[in-house]
Amino acid sequence: MATIEPVLEEIVYSRPESLAECATHYCPGCTHGVAHRLIAEVIDEMGLREKMIGVASVGCSVFAYNYFDFDWVQAPHGRAPAMATGVKRVLPDKVVITYQGDGDMASIGMGEIVHAAARGENISVFFLNNANYGMTGGQMAPTTLPGQKTTSSPAGRDVELAGYPIRASELLSTLDGASYIVRRSMHDAKNIRLAKKAIRMAFETQIRGLGFSMVEILSICPTNWGIDPNQALTWMAEKMVPYYPLGDYKITEAVKQIRV
């Protein structure tokens, strides 16, 4: 006589295969962990793990490679797009990503990112913008908002002295070589889902050989902003999103044809 075993538990949520098992070094509330997970989920869903080569940058995500269970190299500050170019040109059939913060990419690495995009380098860039230098303790970044207080703009960013923030997605979208440039945010569940979709599109762009893709992801830095994670999410939605509007800045016709 057959018996029906009752299902007592079912695993509905687990660590993606592409994420390594290790304790986080990111601060409580930091959205790097969410971004890591989204990237890993997409890699799992697309079955790309064994084809991946990540290029880590310098900043809080300097140890990004600890969290992902695939091959990584570690670039000097700002040079990840150049290093990724070297990897990708030798191994064009592999999938090459960079994971960079705003200090790394939009300041010291501006030359490398602009020219990688202009060349239409077939790599995917994940650009985490949290409006300050997190790792060194919250100094003013090129993305710091006018008036925003940081440890190197203690009275608030004075645009007369320190100039204006750089909107990297808008800037890179002017380049003919760029194929997919979008900005997303992590301030609520809906936007996190939209960010994941964009990450998927960046990978889809690369594996089809359609050229340079970048997803800018607005992120929070509660520790250096000096507020708790919930307040940080609100601040991001209310202050950062208006200055850095979410949206699609460049999607070529070929990328638009992609159906996932």
Partner: protein
């Protein structure tokens, strides 16, 4: 294969191509630009990687990325560009991945000029980048040697998983000589086990230069140094001319050594018992060879196209047991053999002193201060 008339820069480029170069990344700078131009034509037609980078910073980091796959990769530049590459050089050596660099030296410091000089010796041989590290440095004196050492640079870089630099001055980059190129080697199809190539059926490979835990960094420093000791033990290269019965020795590398050879020949015709030691590996430096020579040679003359950078390495080896004199031209000025012949005559006549610094005596002569 037949000898053909070929320009130094182009000979180096083609030698690298034939050594199975997989990826070249560079940026234009005189006097090495023909090398980049040659690669821009040859690499794409062979289906290999070529990128004209946005800067030397870009170029060296593209090399870094390609080197992390274990592919044969190289870049080339000249002084001001090498300065920009110092960042990446430090990272590449720290990560223990192989790469080949070519520095075609010009007059400096600053923008200087585009004429030949040996002004980057300290920067390349003694390290211009941050942290404790060494690179293998080979210095050719003619186009054939430049070809042969280019091929050797790739083998050495891979053997010791470090950077091998071909160091030459602008005149050797620009001059044409008959030379024989090596046979064509294909690009290797396989990649080393340590490389970042995608973790297919194996554990992940992580290539990094960061060791936040000080004892880990210290262990890395010790490992790098132990590897370097193997280089020092096995890879010293030099060439001697007329040294068997020499009482005086001229020491010069690259073009300065080549000019000195003409002077030594002329001095021999005058009956002066002088020979030439031409260091080929500048790092590791033939210290022991010079130390041994100091036991039987009466006096040394160091000649360089700089203000005396290698001079200090010679002085360390001689250890003040014999007089050392110096003759340098710089700023893009190449010495004539007659100038060095005059110095050899002066050396052979004496009197010479162990007191003072040879650079000071030379500077006084150069500026007429004595």
């Amino acid at each position: 294969m037949a000898r053909e008339l070929i320009k130094g820069n182009e000979a180096i480029a083609e030698a690298a191509v034939r050594a199975g170069l997989h990826a070249y990344f560079g940026y234009p700078i005189t006097p090495q630009t023909e090398l980049l131009e040659w690669m821009s034509r040859r690499m794409p037609e062979l289906g290999r990687a070529f990128v004209q980078a946005e800067s030397e910073l870009g170029a060296i980091n593209m090399v870094y990325g390609a080197a992390c796959t274990g592919a044969r990769t190289m870049t080339s530049s000249s002084g001001p560009g090498m300065s920009l590459m110092m960042e990446g050089i430090s990272y590449i050596v720290a990560t223990e991945v192989p790469a080949v660099l070519v520095d075609v030296m010009r007059g400096g410091p600053g923008l200087g000029n585009i004429s030949p000089a040996q002004s980057d010796y300290n920067q390349i041989v003694h390290g211009g980048g941050h942290g404790d590290y060494n690179m293998i440095v080979l210095a050719p004196a003619n186009v054939q040697e430049a070809i042969d050492l280019t091929v050797e640079c790739f083998d050495l870089a891979e053997k010791y998983r470090t950077i091998a630099v071909l160091l030459l001055d602008g005149s050797l980059g620009q001059l044409m000589e008959p030379a024989e190129l090596p046979p064509m080697m294909p690009v290797r199809e396989t990649f080393p086990a340590w490389a970042a190539t995608g973790a297919e059926g194996r554990k992940r490979n992580i290539l990094t230069s960061i060791h936040l835990n000080p004892p880990d960094q210290e262990m890395t420093n010790l490992r790098l140094l132990q590897h370097w000791q193997a280089v020092e033990a096995n890879e010293v290269r030099f060439k001697e001319y007329f040294m068997d019965d020499a009482r005086f020795a001229v020491i010069g590398y690259g073009s300065a050594g080549r000019v000195a050879l003409s002077a030594v020949r002329a001095a021999r015709a005058e009956g002066i018992p002088v020979g030439l030691l031409r260091p080929i590996s500048l790092n590791p430096f033939p210290t022991q060879v010079i130390a041994k020579l100091a036991e039987r040679i009466d006096a040394f003359l160091v000649t360089e196209m700089s203000t005396g950078q290698m001079l200090e390495d010679v002085r360390l080896a001689v250890a003040n047991r014999r007089p050392v004199e110096f003759y340098g031209r710089m700023g893009g000025v190449v010495p004539f053999p007659d100038e060095i012949l005059d110095e050899i005559r002066r050396l052979s006549k004496g009197p010479l002193s162990l007191e003072g610094h040879p650079r000071n005596r030379w500077l006084a002569r150069m500026t007429g201060a004595n």
